[in-house]
Amino acid sequence: MRLTISHETVYRFNPPMRGVVQSHRLTPSQFEGQQVIEWQVQVDGATRGAAFRDGAGDWIETVTLLGPVSEVRVSVRGTIETRDLAGVLRGHRETVPPLAYLRPTIATEADKALRALASRALADVPQDDFLARAHALSAAVSAAIRYSPGETVAGTSAAQALAQGMGVCQDHTHALIAVAQASDIPARYVTGYLESGSDGGAHEASHAWAELWIEGIGWIGFDPSNECCPDDRYVRVGSGHDAEGAAPIRGVAEGTGIEAMEVDVRIEDANSPGNQGQTQQ
């Protein structure tokens, strides 16, 4: 599938800040499932530098703006060709050992309820069928946490989301990481884009899902929000131990201003006229 993406993030500061530093993870991953045709990240008035590919295979760039800064506009535009690999992250170069993804963060720490959810999900699945175990965990998370925007916040943990029984893709992903790690399966947070067409079935254009390490195969994506594995509608950008670690933009502003953020993501199937967009505030 050939996808055209436009992703604009605007930060407004009032009063203006003395300076802003951001770390960007905004460029698609390199693996057999996707090939960038063209890609551009633009920030007006910014100094860019300190760019590198990290141990997890993500392309990272650093952006600084000197004050007074009242607005930062990060524009991502690009076209990418995707292939359906049934969620398998084939041909991705990285050096982080999978076992390092067994260590939970505050967001992905499994409490009693998450552990119980994991063991119920795996009760009837053979010990050595790693793939079936991963699917069972993903299905259990989808069933336990209903997709419902506005019920959780950025700082909501997996345990809190499960207790509420509601959440968005971030909460689903944290919960899947938690139950996987509790079942001794390395797991991580993945960010990217999702082209959901006009059927209304899929959620969130700027999306997140989990990858689980399956012995004998490698990293495989699981999207509990849409109860599937990533296919050619998905664009993988970066990964981390949790939402914060994998965040497309991490920033610090120096000053006392109040920050407001606006995100607009549009994804189009370059070969079909329909488009969809979404604005988050």
């Binding site: 530093v21 770390s23 860019r48 530098g49 300190a50 590198f52 141990g55 610090v252």
Partner: protein
Amino acid sequence: MFDADAVRAPYSGLLDWSRNMPQELRSLKQNEAEALFRRIGITFAVYGEGGSPDRLIPFDMFPRVFQADEWARLERGVKQRAKALNAFLVDVYGRGEIVKAGRIPARLVYQNEAYETAVCGIVPSKGVYAHIVGIDLVRTGPDEFFVLEDNCRTPSGVSYMLENREIMMRMFPGLFQENRIAPVENYPALLRRTLASVAPAKCDGTPRVVILTPGHFNSAYYEHSFLADMMGVELVEGADLFVEGDFCWMRTTEGPKKVDVIYRRIDDAFIDPLCFRPDSMLGVPGLMNVYRSGGVNICSAPGAGVADDKAIYTYVPEMIRFYLGEAPILKNVPTWQCTKPEDCKYVLEHLDELVVKEVHGSGGYGMLVGPRSDKATIELFAQKIREKPWNYIAQPTLALSTCPTFVEEGIAPRHVDLRPYCLVGENIDLVPGGLTRVALTEGSLVVNSSQGGGVKDTWVMAE
């Protein structure tokens, strides 16, 4: 200090010196030493204890002495260990050969909370992660030294090594004329040379080195400013540095100056809010990106802590064999890991004879010295171990060597340990000396300054 009931050779002259010192002169000198420490401002803030944060560490005037040949062996052992620890760090953040070879359990390394995935794949300048390695040693026999623990992050206390010497030389110049004592004063120059030698490849002039401190509330702030003075480099806090483009810069009255090497005395978690703890106010936003793209070096490297973890410690002799193909010169203390069920069972059955420590503990807090504890304390520890076995390791209670020490009644033996500071850059250097800590309470084996320990000057006799 005693060898078959006789005082060991290096001490005999000093014993005469101390015995011939009149009581009045002794108290005069003791007061003078204390006044000097106060004047230069070297104090030690004790965590978790009430009272003044500016308490002096007691200074004992009786020096601890090594003969040249004893030291030569110790030096080889310390350098060997520092080399192996660095080889291990480059390996576990790279190809992980030691893990693949099955010489150390993968989970112990990769699930360790000090293992930092943000630096996977990075080989720092000259292949060095731990630039200052402080190795805590005890002596149990004439030729027998045991390593208690390795410190690969930012070992503190080196300012005491330098100040103890300085004060001894001021108070007893005669001793330094009668004895040929190897100098330690060149440590700051060596440290600066070591740091400059690991400047990143992108640095094309004379490297600018700075010390990054969390600020004056930190208990080791004195040492940070002392070392900056002695090395002739800037002492900075996070707010003095900023990132722009490919580099890290220091704000100065003459405009920004590029910084090439940061000797940081803040923990990994606080280095950069964009990479680690987002609430850190002590670090520099974006610094890790500049580090990871080769624009600046950070010493010790983020992630170095995985090598000095108390559970990893058990495998250091294995690292020496694996990376260097040598037999370890310094011994490890046999260690039981409570996370292993059979070890845990043994520990619980022998608590009255063991020393129990927290895996990530330091400063002598939260530890149990079995032979010197009452039943209730032992029972309390047994409970803690049962609740969190992975949090504890245990070691036998060692017969630590003693050193003559001034006490109320005259001179008496007190237990000591030693922390030499090994510098690793382009070269590996060890100044002949270190920090000797002494347990001032009779019979005590805990030398931590936070637990009533004192310090002594450490002499290495020149050939």
